[in-house]
């Protein structure tokens, strides 16, 4: 955390405030957001209900009848100016995935559109280490940064009516893991046997903003046996600490 940035405090009504570090997708901004988030949680400020880290800002939900809005902004300001500059411990998730059809829907199309071989598309997608920037849109829906530039492709002109959960999608230079079925204009490269969101499991969510994520390709028959273990309640994703 070499560069220190003075955040802006933007009102979102009288019950939430946005602490904005910038307006772009940038790992440095994300680090600042996560550091402030950790500091706010550790401070356990009476009246602060919940915080939501995003790519470039932290939303702090609070009860103005417990802490006055200007008092909260002052408190956040002192936390922001005193952020620890030491690097934090990272968690790195490794998810088993399968790039073969029918787990992949679009690998042939993407390879052709980008003038790459299918093997190259898999090697690039699987070779990257991703950063979990944000969970949003739907429960556990995971926005990843770190997609190799060679895999930059525009969204489909019209969305597919339904993409199933646990699909790995790419578009617009971003990567995503779906957690619920939904319409999407993104290209589906693979499927993971793990569930990043499972409402009856403890923990309900595996990955959190700031975590790293990698994908490990397995053959279809192995994928199916892993998926059976997941169905029995096992967590198959590996989680390591990296410093």
């Amino acid at each position: 955390m070499s560069r220190q940035i003075e955040p802006r405090y933007l009102p979102a009504g009288e019950c939430a405030v946005v602490v904005e570090y910038g307006t772009t997708v940038d790992p440095h901004l994300s680090e600042l957001v996560l550091a402030l988030d950790a500091a706010v949680l550790a401070a356990a400020i009476a009246g602060v209900a919940e915080t939501v880290p995003t790519y470039r800002s932290l939303m702090v939900h609070f009860d103005p009848l417990v802490i006055a809005p200007d008092a909260l902004v002052a408190r956040l300001g002192s936390l922001a100016s005193g952020l620890a500059t030491t690097s934090r411990d990272l968690r790195r998730w490794t998810l088993p995935v399968c790039y073969a059809e029918p787990y992949s829907l679009d690998i042939a199309f993407v390879a052709k559109a980008l003038s790459l071989t299918e093997e190259r598309v898999v090697a690039l997608h699987q070779g990257a280490t991703y950063r979990v920037y944000m969970l949003g849109f739907a429960p556990g829906f995971t926005y990843l940064g770190g997609l190799p530039a060679e895999l930059t492709i525009s969204r489909m002109t019209s969305p597919r009516a339904r993409v199933e959960e646990n699909k790995l999608m790419i578009a617009g230079g971003q990567a995503i893991v779906t957690t619920v079925a939904m319409p999407a204009a993104w290209y589906v490269l693979a499927e993971t046997a793990e569930r990043l969101f499972s409402p009856r499991r403890d923990p309900v969510f595996l990955a959190a903003p700031g975590d790293e994520m990698r994908f490990e390709a397995v053959a279809p028959h192995e994928f199916e046996s892993i998926r059976e273990r997941v169905a029995r309640g096992e967590t198959v994703a590996r989680c390591e600490s990296v410093s």
């Binding site: 979102a12 470039r56 006055a68 949003g136 429960p139 309900v204």
Partner: protein
């Protein structure tokens, strides 16, 4: 027989809601919770429950319920809807005991969208991620993530029979005053002309409205630097202006994050009033400060407590229209076209 509340009839939109599913916003989980938080809290207070306890949210589809096994105390508040016990009219806000076999019915009036029925004790349904709030889109909470339906039975634990009471909650009736907003967080994404349009002109609620968001129609609100932002947090009452340049107001079933600039946020004291408006209603926005928003919130929180405290015994089994007029509520039902002032 288990003590239960049986759903005799449930129109579209009847769901279980508690204060909301909190603690998971950072994972993309919609908070849900009541559309009119003030009416919801009042119903719970009248029922003798904690303010955030699970209750039934009734929409314009109405509801009819029956007590089973033991007497149940049901409290109710919300839009000026017609409430009856065994066919006899009740005031629009209050509480009554249902003996086994007794029925409470809620029929929508001419104005308002949301109504709450709270049951003394607690609804014995397993929470999902700490909450009973139903979010239909993701299928979480309530009964299997769905709307209530005829034949459903809600087991009620720790039920106590309280006295019948009426509450004077005339302040719940939607009023036409401008909706007060705090500007931001992205008001700098709009031109001065855009801000002037937003604060100076009237907008109309369209039929594209549900628990997630209300879409408004009206003059275009001009952006200064495009309509895409890198996603950031969304709170209750946030007013997005997407590419079509008309306000899109995020409500209880909002996503916790989103990628359109938000010109302003409706203050909590007014977002419940906004929620109660129907398609075709005209709305205007008026700018207030964060401190004024907090003052209005405190005022409303105190009003809810005072209204519950001052509930008085309901001595008449059937209420005359004079009595209802005396509560200053039924007038709005009979003459919705006339401004309520």
């Amino acid at each position: 027989m288990t003590t239960a509340l049986r759903i005799v009839r449930a129109g579209p939109g009847a769901t279980l809601q508690d204060a909301g599913r909190f603690g998971f916003l950072r994972f993309g989980v919609t908070p849900a919770g009541p559309m009119d938080w003030a009416a919801f809290r009042l119903a719970n207070r009248l029922a003798g429950n904690p303010e955030g306890a699970a209750a039934i949210e009734v929409s314009i589809g109405g509801l009819e319920v029956e007590a089973e096994g033991a007497p149940l105390t049901l409290a109710f508040a919300g839009a000026p809807y017609a409430v009856q016990r065994n066919g006899a009219a009740l005031p629009p806000a209050g509480r009554v005991v249902l003996r086994p076999g007794d029925r409470l019915s809620v029929r929508p009036g001419e104005i308002g969208m949301w109504f709450y029925v709270a049951i003394n004790g607690h609804i014995d349904v397993a929470p999902t991620m700490g909450s009973l709030s139903t979010h239909l889109r993701s299928g979480l909470g309530g009964l299997e993530g769905r709307q209530l339906a005829a034949g459903d039975r809600l087991a009620i634990a720790d039920a106590v029979a309280l006295d019948d009471a009426a509450a004077d909650a005339s302040w719940l009736v939607p009023s036409p005053e401008p909706l007060r907003v705090v500007m931001g967080p992205q008001d700098d994404y709009f031109t001065l002309a855009g801000i002037a349009t937003f604060l100076g002109r009237a907008f109309t609620i369209t039929t594209q409205m549900d628990r997630m968001a209300y879409r408004l129609d009206g003059p275009e609100v001009e952006h200064a630097k495009g309509f895409n932002i890198v996603s950031d947090g969304i709170t209750l009452g946030a007013i997005q202006i997407p590419g079509e340049k008309r306000p899109f107001v995020l409500m209880a079933d909002r996503q916790p994050t989103g990628g359109y600039p938000k010109i302003a946020t409706i203050i909590r004291a007014d977002v419940r009033r906004f929620a109660q408006m129907r398609p075709g209603a005209s709305v205007r926005f008026a700018k207030v400060t964060v401190a004024e928003g907090a003052t209005e919130l405190r005022r409303l929180v105190e009003l809810i407590a005072e209204t519950a405290r001052e509930a008085r015994p309901l001595v008449r089994s059937e209420l005359s229209s004079e009595f209802l007029l005396g509560l200053n509520l039924i007038g709005g039902v009979e003459d919705a076209a006339r401004p309520l002032v």
